[in-house]
């Protein structure tokens, strides 16, 4: 510890100093009684910027967007009680998707804790299962250490959200601030980042001798930092092997590269899923064998030897037994693999690899994402293809809400770089995309930031139009309006005999007028022939825009592996559906 810098600051001042020492530039928040001292401290300085949201859930998603698009820790500030409980969905979202956040929550003064005081909630109790870690600061002495430790925990190892609960008396008490020696460490939490060298050798051996190899990489590569994506690209190029990405891993390998076979999983490509099924060596880097990608576990990649590189030991052997578990950082492991590959110059069986690629190219030939665009109604896939055409040469970031539009965005927009794609994967939180886009725009003021939305999802955090207006954030909301909770409708069609119970988007607002009411610009498009002009207009407008694109109401998202089915059991289009009813086992799955 260095020596105290200043004397007699309040806990709140000290907190703000500690945040500045952590190089925090922006805090997403909403005030209330318990955090007024912090708002007072914020008022008296000009290093930290505060973005006032309109709902605490949005503050957390905005911080997630900020964090995912920059690689930094996102910071949230909310009041006690309802402020904290409103943040819970966002915290859970960040936990599931491994997003580093520090969320400061107000709390009633220490002497009132447990008394059912006004706006008291057991915040550490409520958030214990939805944070990586949480703290209740009981004395101002512990405040600065706790803040620095919280940042360390949030960003180290597998990143995640950390809550610091701050009783009001702790914020008001006077104390000296001592800047910590950076980097701060934790006495027990020391994640392993350097993989075991012997295991890297074994991995190299397996990889080099594969006949039908397959890279399956995920969000962990993005968590590891931009360098890991570069190394991944380099290593995959060195081997010449095929690679697929999870939804969370999109952008870690350039989508336009010919070795990329698209996303895998429930709505992944035919070629990616069949390659997963038939491969003989599976190289998982930073992906967690989520049920959305494995499908029926007993038939998941049954012929392969599996290597799994993950920084979190609990991700390994959780769902799928692997042959070679390697705990460590994705970037570090890739660096080691590349070094060893260069040193050993292994002879890959080129004949086998050629035959493997021929097989994959045959699957590719099915053109599983094909759709038919007619003259009258806009197909959602077409809307996204046109969108991509107009943004691809611009500096752009994409967020999404949750539903069919999210899957189509994953399939039809091409991600060439990491940190450009923000989506709620693990929790699947409708209402994520718009506030996340605001957070991204704050971090990248000059970039084109687009929330690909559904008309139902966008209603879940629509109040944030006011935030966009206040800070003149030129976010574009691109609604694929199918007048249905399309993903729900699709499942009802497939699993519940077409009984569309409560999935019609009744009584929608006029989105153009809605935009107008919040000082944004609204555009509407019905006709395929006008789509290009609408998109161009959207891009040209300097401020926030809502584009209401009327798309085909009945379109379903394919390919689809129905829950509980195996990778080879994909539905490729409506004609497949009738032929294969979903099993009873599959029906109970989510």
């Amino acid at each position: 510890m260095k020596k105290p810098e200043e004397t007699a600051t309040t806990g709140a001042d000290l907190l703000v100093k500690a945040l500045i020492d952590e190089e925090v530039e922006v805090v997403f928040g909403y005030p209330g009684g318990a955090v007024l001292p912090i708002y007072d401290s914020l008022f008296k300085q000009n290093k930290l910027r505060h973005i006032l949201v309109r709902h605490e859930q949005a503050a957390v998603h905005a911080a997630e967007g900020y964090a995912r698009s920059t690689g930094k820790v996102g910071v949230v500030l909310v009041t006690s009680g309802p402020g904290a409980t409103n943040a819970v969905t966002g915290l859970t979202d960040a936990l599931m998707d491994s997003i580093p956040l520090v969320c400061l929550t107000g709390q009633v003064p220490t002497h009132l804790i447990g008394n059912d005081a006004f706006q008291e909630a057991d915040t550490t109790g409520i958030t214990r299962p939805c944070t990586k870690h949480n703290y209740l600061v009981k004395s101002v002495d512990a405040l600065s250490r706790t803040v620095h430790e919280a940042f360390y925990v949030a960003r180290s190892g597998r990143p995640g959200p950390v809550v610091i609960d701050l009783p009001k008396d702790v914020l008001m008490n006077k104390h000296d601030y001592t800047a910590p020696d950076m980097p701060v460490q934790h006495k027990s939490y020391r994640p392993v980042t350097k993989p075991d060298a012997k295991k890297i050798e074994q991995a190299l051996e397996l990889i080099a001798n594969a006949k039908k190899p397959m890279f399956y990489t995920g969000g962990g590569v993005i968590n590891s930092g931009a360098r890991a994506s570069k190394l991944l690209t380099q290593f995959v190029h060195m081997t010449g092997y095929p690679i697929t990405n999870t939804l969370m891993g999109l952008g870690s390998f350039p989508a336009s590269d010919k070795q990329f076979v698209g996303m895998l999983g429930m709505h992944g490509t035919y070629e990616a899923n069949l390659a997963m099924y038939h491969c003989d060596v599976l190289i998982n880097i930073g992906a967690r064998f989520d049920d959305r990608i494995t499908g029926k576990l007993a038939e998941f990649s049954p012929h392969s030897k599996k290597i799994h590189i993950d920084i979190d030991g609990s991700s390994i052997n959780k769902n799928v037994r692997v042959d070679l578990p390697i705990v460590g950082d994705a970037g570090q492991a890739l660096e080691d693999l590349i070094k060893l590959w260069k040193a050993r110059q292994p002879k890959v069986d080129q004949k086998a690899l050629k035959a493997w690629w021929a097989e994959i190219d045959k699957w590719r030939g099915r053109d599983c994402l094909a759709y038919k665009q007619g003259k009258d109604v806009i197909k959602p896939q077409f809307a996204l293809e046109r969108l991509y055409h107009h943004i691809k040469d611009r500096d752009h970031y994409i967020t999404t809400e949750v539903g069919q539009h999210q899957m189509w965005a994953a399939q039809f927009l091409k991600f060439e770089q990491p940190n450009r794609w923000m989506t709620s994967g693990g929790l699947g939180t409708m209402g994520y995309g718009f506030p996340a886009a605001l957070g991204v725009q704050i971090a990248h003021p000059e970039a084109l930031v687009i929330d690909v939305a559904g008309e139902a999802s966008i209603m879940m955090n629509i109040q944030e139009l006011s935030t966009a207006a206040q800070y003149r954030l030129p976010v574009k909301i691109f609604i694929l309006n199918n007048q249905y909770m399309g993903m729900v409708r699709q499942w009802q069609e497939l699993l519940h005999g077409g009984r569309y119970s409560e999935s019609y988007s009744e009584a929608l607002p006029d989105f153009v007028k809605l935009a107008d009411a919040f000082g944004a610009k609204g555009l509407r498009c019905h006709e395929p022939s006008k789509l290009d002009d609408t998109i161009k207009e959207m891009i040209a407008i300097k401020g926030p825009v809502i584009v209401d694109v009327a798309v085909d109401k009945a379109e379903n998202c394919f390919p689809m592996i129905p829950s509980g089915a195996a990778h080879y059991d994909m539905l490729l289009g409506p004609e497949d559906r009738a032929a294969r009813p979903v099993s009873e086992e599959g029906m109970v799955l989510v």
Binding site: G125, R128, H133, G157, S188, G313, I316, K318
Partner: protein
């Protein structure tokens, strides 16, 4: 199919508020079972506590339980004593027995066989303290069943490896 078996796991943790809730919440939240749980501070200077958990599951589940415990931020060490070789498990019970005459005498005789100590006595009751492996404690409690058993308190298992190594 993998078969479920019982494992005794020792966990060294920071003795901070909420740590037990974290551990117990992990088990309930993820659907693992707890057969026995003991916790107390064991190192005052470093403020560390030792938690001993007996749980059951298939090898994959037990591995997952340990990995989940290990990633809790205030956890220092996780040891699976069942896998790590020979170890000793002990439990302590307080057993209250009420009775007079032959039953009282028999209770006392059995206590002697089990090396249970009398730690409270009235003319018509005893409180015994018995320590040992859980099955021994269990047998003692069962035997007291017909001799006027009134109440039992058990600590749950604490465990340690044999030999000179820590844990």
């Amino acid at each position: 199919m993998e078969v479920a078996s019982s494992h005794t796991i020792a966990v060294l943790v920071d003795n901070e508020p909420g740590i037990l809730a974290r551990v117990v919440g992990l088990f309930s939240g993820r659907g693992y079972n707890i057969e026995s749980l003991t916790v107390a501070q064991t190192n005052a200077k470093q403020n560390l506590s030792r938690i001993t958990i007996v749980t059951a599951g298939t090898p994959m589940v037990v591995e997952q339980i340990k990995a989940q415990l290990d990633r809790l931020v205030p956890v220092h060490k996780v040891h699976d004593l069942t896998l790590e070789g020979p170890h000793i498990e002990r439990e302590l019970a307080l057993v209250k027995v009420k009775g007079v005459g032959e039953k009282r005498a028999e209770a006392l005789r059995l206590a002697d066989i089990f090396r249970a100590k009398v730690i409270d006595t009235k003319t018509d009751s005893f409180v015994f303290e018995v320590t040992g492996a859980s099955d021994k404690v269990q047998t003692f409690v069962e035997l007291m069943g017909s001799l006027g058993l009134v109440d039992v308190g058990r600590t749950g298992i604490v465990a340690m490896t044999r030999g000179g190594e820590a844990f």
